[in-house]
Amino acid sequence: MLELKNISFQADDDGKEIEILKDINLKVEDRFVAVTGPNGSGKSTLAKIVAGILKPTEGQIFLDGVDITEKSITERAQMGISFAFQQPVRFKGLTVKDMLSLAAGRETAVSEVCSMLSEVGLCARDYVNREINASLSGGELKRIEIAMIMARKAKVSIFDEPEAGIDLWSFQNLIRVFEKMHTEIQGTILIISHQERILNIADQIVLLSDGRIEKTGSREEVMPDLLGAGQPCKTLTDKL
């Protein structure tokens, strides 16, 4: 179980301190938890704080009761936290097979790579030895990123906007991957998303707004608010 206690995060913006996260308290117990909210509400910051990429200004993070607030990215990864970037990183020279082997923590056979890639809708024959470089499209990179997370079989898998930068057609396929993951995965999935179809399969939805948790609960509890949230301002409604 992942637990955040009183997490705050301040960033420096041209000498001015701005508060991105304010006193976040959250228990992630369900299998599939979605974090949603408007742009700039602090979702990605929250994910990076859990992965150890950003250090919270205040508060503590617990994984299965162990305080991991001071642990490094590497230590957290080894303890079972896995993180899929919103914008996957490119590497000159490292191949899809190299990255999947690093993710799995051991040398993987071509047949294993094949099954990992087919899970995300890629044919291994075309990808095993491809370099993770500029020759891959955004959608391909995104799927490889997801395959890496699946290869890790971690306790907590975090996905930061898996739909970002993906065309609609590719997204339809991705949804299927997450639907499948929801039924099969052994750990917890924490997914940051705006997509209704992803929110629809979540066991718990966390609505972030302006750095605070506005609402959290089952999808039946949160979804109605969500659709009503973010009412346009008066200037816009007047025009409509």
Binding site: A77, F83, V89, F91, L94, T95, M148
Partner: protein, 305 residues
């Protein structure tokens, strides 16, 4: 041949035993073994140290190994090797030099290789440099490669220097005739106080000639690297050079490209990028459970693969 020499051979030529086909092994300035075949002849030069390698026209699928090993401290030598590759050949040439210096005197090997590749012949040329030994004596290598490609000929050169060479100045010149193509792939890693300099000059003399120079390098610690490339297009041709370097610690890398077009249809491109390992690459690998150092090693290993 002793254990040190055998280790050097394994490093520079992937040779664990006597190779198949034609070969000439030079150890500490002397010939340590030679084999010729019906199509490939190797002759000792009479006017200077070195050999002539003559490959009969139409020879296909054969290889020549000409490794050099130096294990005595203080040897300084210049060796002249000429390759005459007949028309329509398709051959692989594997050179390489390993220096083990356990003493305090500098050891240096300068290999001057000239290639005369006749019409429509195809050559793959692999060259590896390696140094070992814990003596204070410097390990120096200055390879010169001079390539002449006749009409329709092609040569692909792979040159690798990953470890242990203190100082290297690598000069490559080429003359590319009509329809001929030249590809050079260079990989260099320097560390400590090493110095590596590469200098390419390619003259595109014939119509539809092409050249592609690709250099990938990693400079660590206090090492220095200079990459110079000159491509001259005297006919309708395609020329491309690319220098991609990772810089670490206190190292320094210079890329100095020069393109000259003397013909309206000469297409010449140079790309150069020098920079440290991207922070997000390190973070990505750390989220997979690697330490920062392990992540760095993986990135460098992949980059030079």
């Amino acid at each position: 041949m002793d254990a040190i020499q055998q280790e050097l051979l394994a490093q520079v030529a992937d040779l664990h035993e006597v190779p198949e086909g034609a070969y000439n092994i030079r150890a500490n300035g002397e010939m340590a073994g030679r084999n010729t075949t019906a199509n490939i002849d190797i002759l000792t030069k009479e006017d200077c140290p070195g050999i002539d390698i003559r490959i009969k026209p139409g020879t296909k699928g054969e290889s020549v190994h000409i490794p050099v090993v130096l294990s005595q401290s203080g040897i300084q030598e210049s060796v002249y090797n000429d390759f005459f590759v007949g028309e329509d050949c398709d051959v692989t040439i594997i050179a390489g030099c390993g220096i083990h210096n356990g003493g305090s005197a500098a050891s240096a090997h300068s290999g001057i290789h000239r290639f005369f590749v006749e019409k429509n012949a195809k050559v793959r040329y692999v060259e590896k440099h390696y140094g070992s030994g814990d003596g204070n004596g410097e390990r120096i290598m200055n390879p010169t490669t001079d390539i002449h490609l006749a009409e329709g000929a092609s040569l692909e050169m792979e040159t690798v220097q990953i470890k242990g060479i203190d100082s290297t100045a690598r000069t490559t010149t080429a003359e590319v005739a009509e329809g001929a193509s030249l590809v050079i792939k260079e990989k260099i890693m320097t560390h400590g106080k090493q110095y590596a300099e590469t200098d390419f000059t390619v003259n595109m003399a014939g119509a539809d000639s092409s050249v592609n120079l690709i250099s990938r390098s990693v400079a660590k610690e206090h090492s220095r690297q200079i990459f110079r490339s000159r491509i001259v297009g005297n006919a309708s041709c395609h020329g491309h050079s690319e220098c991609d370097a990772i810089i670490m610690d206190e190292a320094s890398v210079s890329a100095i490209p020069e393109l000259t077009a003397n013909h309206i249809d000469a297409n010449l491109i140079h790309e150069a990028a020098i920079g440290k390992i991207a922070g997000e690459q390190l973070i990505k690998l750390m989220t997979l459970g690697l330490t920062e150092k392990e992540a760095e090693e993986q990135i460098v290993k992949g980059f030079l693969k």
